[in-house]
């Protein structure tokens, strides 16, 4: 039996083209496996092989999604795959979105099984988990070996047309699909068992997790923007040069609060970004490109706004845990309320 053909998608980083400075590279096709694709070979054994690798820069994909998808689809189709794999992307946000989007496109356009892998907090996971199988991975490439093991096992099941098990059995992120099945014990017994475990503080698994709808209703509009006090907040990591609060370049555990008294624009001599994961040269050349203090000062003079709040708040959004980001904003929002700040402009890179 001939081996099944697999095409693999990776970003510029895993293709060893380069880091952020190469995130703009356009799609390209290379024969055979590359980077993490090499690890899939042994797991596939005689059943399948990666015949080609498609590569695209993370920024190029996210900023030109339709064109990138179309170009990649053409390359993927030409390689005549039986299965398509993307990633794993771990907690890299743009890479995760790219993996999800191209997997969905391949599934819809070529009608072949597809799968990808990423960390559950990757924004790509929420966006594409109901469209494609996303194997749940750790939040960094430290989890590569485990991710490859789980992804290749699921890939082989797909190639052999074996039924896919529940998300907990085949390690993918739940898709919100219910399947009828017969349990060994009846419901009343399972419920009592669960209750007893709960009472004894033992671990148990719920059969009906509550959906986590975390939505906030929009606040009413600002009545008179011309008299409003407005604060600037960023996840783009702009800080005074030298990064006095030592905000981490990724997975930030803190944020900074910086005084803008007498500051008319963010000079490149006094401010820079602490953010990893994107090419910092543009932000460092003119930090107003991320935190537009210059424009807010002009708006103040033109009386388009009341005033710019004296402090701006900054953290690094790169791989930062949702829990941390939430805690930062909870804390500084108290100050904003106390100081009668009426609106916030939050910029992200």
């Amino acid at each position: 039996m001939s081996k099944k053909r697999v095409v693999h998608y990776i970003n510029q980083f895993f293709a060893q083209i380069g880091g952020e400075e190469m995130a703009h590279v356009k799609p390209e096709y290379r024969e055979g496996p590359l980077g993490p694709g090499l690890a899939f070979g042994p797991a596939f054994g005689d059943h399948a092989e990666i015949v080609g690798t498609v590569i695209c820069g993370d920024s190029y994909f996210n900023e030109n999604m339709e064109e990138a998808k179309a170009e990649l689809l053409k390359m993927i189709k030409a390689a005549k795959p039986d299965l398509f794999i993307a990633g794993p992307a771990f907690n890299a946000g743009r890479y995760g979105v790219a993996c999800g989007a191209i997997s969905e496109a391949v599934k819809n356009e070529l009608g072949i099984p597809v799968l990808t892998g990423m960390y559950e907090e990757n924004p790509g996971a929420d966006m594409f988990k109901s469209a494609v199988y996303i194997v749940s991975t750790r939040n960094s490439a430290v989890g590569m070996r485990d991710a490859v093991k789980k992804m290749s096992a699921l890939a082989l099941k797909m190639l052999k047309d074996e039924p896919i098990g529940a998300s907990s059995e085949d390690h993918y992120i739940p898709q919100g699909i219910r399947v009828n099945l017969f349990e060994k014990d009846r419901g009343s017994k399972r419920a009592v068992d669960m209750l007893l475990k709960k009472l004894k503080d033992q671990p148990y698994v719920t059969e009906y997790p509550m959906p986590a709808f975390d939505r906030v209703d929009p606040q009413p509009a600002v009545k008179d923007i011309r008299s409003a006090k407005i604060a600037l907040v960023t996840s783009g990591g702009i800080v005074p040069k030298g990064n006095p609060d030592h905000i981490e370049s990724s997975s930030a555990t803190k944020y900074g609060r910086y005084d803008l008294e007498g500051v008319n624009y963010l000079s490149k001599n006094r401010y820079a970004t602490a953010h990893g994961g994107y090419d910092p040269s543009y932000a460092n050349e003119d930090p107003d490109r991320v935190v537009p203090v210059d424009m807010m000062r002009e708006f103040e003079k033109e009386e388009k706004i009341g005033s710019l709040y004296r402090y701006f708040f900054s953290t690094v959004g790169n791989g930062t845990a949702v829990k941390n980001a939430k805690a930062f904003a909870e804390e500084f929002s108290k100050e904003l309320i106390e100081e009668n700040v009426q609106a916030v402009i939050l910029t992200s890179t």
Binding site: M127, P220, I225, Y282, A329, T349
Partner: protein
């Protein structure tokens, strides 16, 4: 952060390049930006034109903050 600021009672506009991510996370007022490494600027333009671009995006942000909405809305930059 956007959601927590809004939850605290302050209207907030999110300026970002990949707006689908912002929508997934749950921002309500969203204004599209130029590019990931330079959301409010365009290094390929001369300074004056670059500032004009920044002004247009910021105008859209002010408009977003002044507009009543009942659901997530991505505002256009004029």
């Amino acid at each position: 952060m956007v959601k927590e600021i809004e939850r605290a009672g302050i209207p907030v506009v999110h300026i970002c390049t990949v707006t689908p991510i912002s929508q997934t996370v749950g921002a309500n007022r969203i204004v599209p930006a130029i590019a990931i490494p330079h959301p409010l600027g365009d290094p390929s333009l001369p300074l004056e034109e670059e500032k004009a671009v920044r002004r247009r995006i910021m105008n859209a942000a002010l408009k977003a903050l002044s507009t009543e909405i009942s659901e997530q809305t991505v505002f256009d930059v004029d």
